[in-house]
Amino acid sequence: MPNFYRERLERVRQAMRQWGADWMFLNYGADFTYLTGITTPMYYPILKGLGDWITGLFFGLDGDPVLFLQKSFAINVEEQTWIQDIRVLPDGEDPDAFLARNLAVFPTAGKTIAVSKMLWAQSLLSLQAAAPGARFIPATNEMMDRIRAIKDEQEIRLMQRAAEITDAALAATVKVMKAGMTERDVAIEVDYQIRRCGGDGYSFYPGIICVGNGSDPQRHILTRNTDMVLAPGTTVAFDFGVLYQGYCSDFGRSAFIGEPQADALAAYRSITQASQAAMNIMAEGQVTPAQIADFVRDRVTADGFGEWYWYLGLGHGIGLEVHEWPWLRPGFNEPVRAGMCFTLEPKVWKPGVFYVRCEDVVVVGKDRANSLTKFCYEPIVIE
């Protein structure tokens, strides 16, 4: 197994020392995947059964991490992770007693244990009983943000693959898109194509937004996938992402049904050009997230679409989670670093008339950012 995981573990241990944590306990989620290589089982959010709350990764400032698993999560787990010390809850043993006896050998009294921000209350109470005399702190976003913000080589490869699948899913969807389909029809097609093209699933449910041809100006762009029919003269915005081995993409383009309106076309040209120009300035240490957001807004405003630009932010960090620190918007003033992955997602929305968006996942490099998603920026015209 590669030593990416060992390096990540050392980075986390550094943060633990900084934050005064002696031990860490993580349940399934982004930090867990980051350190173990195990992606969240699809049944985890809905699984409810005896002992499910003891599942987690436990480690200190040195030594080998320990993986506690309920039986149904232990199937084939050795193939999925570099972790050697795997302890499965035996049939018939009380889950709380299992955790207590396993934790008893580690010196936790008077020490601080950091736990996943989203660790279940039930798990926390069990841990507190299993490690009496320990103090508990959450492994907050602030503790973990900066570690996961810089992606290593393996992560970039996985995000690249997620991006390829994303491009392919859109291409396949566009092939079958027709006027007369509804927003929901298209969303379901995207969901299917994501899996057909090799994704594990969507990173968030695909969003399709059709505007124009007399559509309701009150309808917000956050309302998606309705029964609205794709009619000539409308714009159709895509907002979807792929989940691949735990890593996310978040992506978009706009399609035009029939002959595109001149205004909508021009707005699309503006945002796609501004996005590409932004990648040119996203060099390590040279620019802050706030500046990147301003740069794109200024360009689109200069092109005449300032009034309809939506609106403050440009995008966000992305990796094992769809939304990660830092955000590309005012207030985020630390210069970007190589290996950071962002979405660039400018949008122009004229309610009732048109809505165009494009979105790419880009990686910051020494001299510029490069896009992982490569779908062309030409307007997609659907007859």
Binding site: P41, M42, W120, A121, V322
Partner: protein
Amino acid sequence: MIDYARRLDNARTRMAERNIGLMFLKPGANLFYLAGIRRQEADNTDANAYGDWVVGGYIGLKDGIILTAPRMGGAFFQAEVEDKPWFESVRLILELEDPEQVMRQVISRFDLRGKKVALDDRAWAQTVLAFRRLLPDTEFVLASAVIEPMRMIKEDAAIELMRKAGQITDGAFQRALAMLKPGVTELEVAREIDYQLKLLGADYTSFVTGIRFTGPGRASPSALGRVTERRLLPGDSVTFDFGCVYQGYCSDFGRSAFVGDPPAEYLKIHEIVLRAQREAMQAMKAGQITASQADRIARSVIEAEGYGEYFTHRLGHGIGVTVHEEPFLDAVNQTVLQANMTFTVEPSIRIPDRFSNRVEDVVQVTPSGAVSLYTTDHRLYVID
């Protein structure tokens, strides 16, 4: 119509009995069950909205419900409470505030002297630790003590919603059956089911749709139901395992099909599985049997025929606003079944590389046994 005011009243009585002054429920099943805040379509990732770790419903004995919400995505919560007079207010958390201060302000609205605080079982650790900081002398308990027993017994209105979810499920199933021809992939069938469920009015699926084609000599994929691009061949057995959510209530359904002339042994297996389900359901009389006894009855039928080792999971589980909930029809659960509990009853016989057969209904416990909420025929669906 679900009577939320009544549920809240009931919950507050139970809180008072347990000396609980405040109950915190994060957006999720319990908050939906008690107060009607709908759950949004499942993401595989979390959204990291600012202040998300103090977001939820704060329910007091007399005061509340105060609902905190992140600014990003807050409009959803504001819209949700519009027709719900049992909410006192929605408090958005803005990026310039300290979320813990928001929590402090909200908590200060409740009289907690000498009282305990109940926390959602799956509330986040970051939330729990903040509560402990703000209320260092308070005893904390899990909210399941209050809510779980309530959720176990379904009102007639809830059963109706589960019946309706079953109708939608049946509609999708019939369409899926029509697709079963040699050459179709598991993924194509799953996609059609997911599409039809939405078209027929479901909120979304209740879990990842599972379609499995099993055939002689073909290695089965590993457990837990991920669909593949395996193509249907003559001689395959097909098992369905899927469900939907309708107005917050779940279905969970299964049937079996066979492509071509089923061999005698497979017909026998199908009959055994159905008999196991039927006998368990007949025995599931309110007040007269425990969950583990029900599991034993079905398992005995299968074991007596020599297939015990191929029935590798529990008989079923409670179901309602979540697809898996207490009580569980497993080998150890001692809960005595009561009227209007709802369960899946899902025996199966799965012989790797040869046959798979399963059936699954959601049933309602009555004094004279359990009755299915679903009308789909239990026969083996033979595909020519």
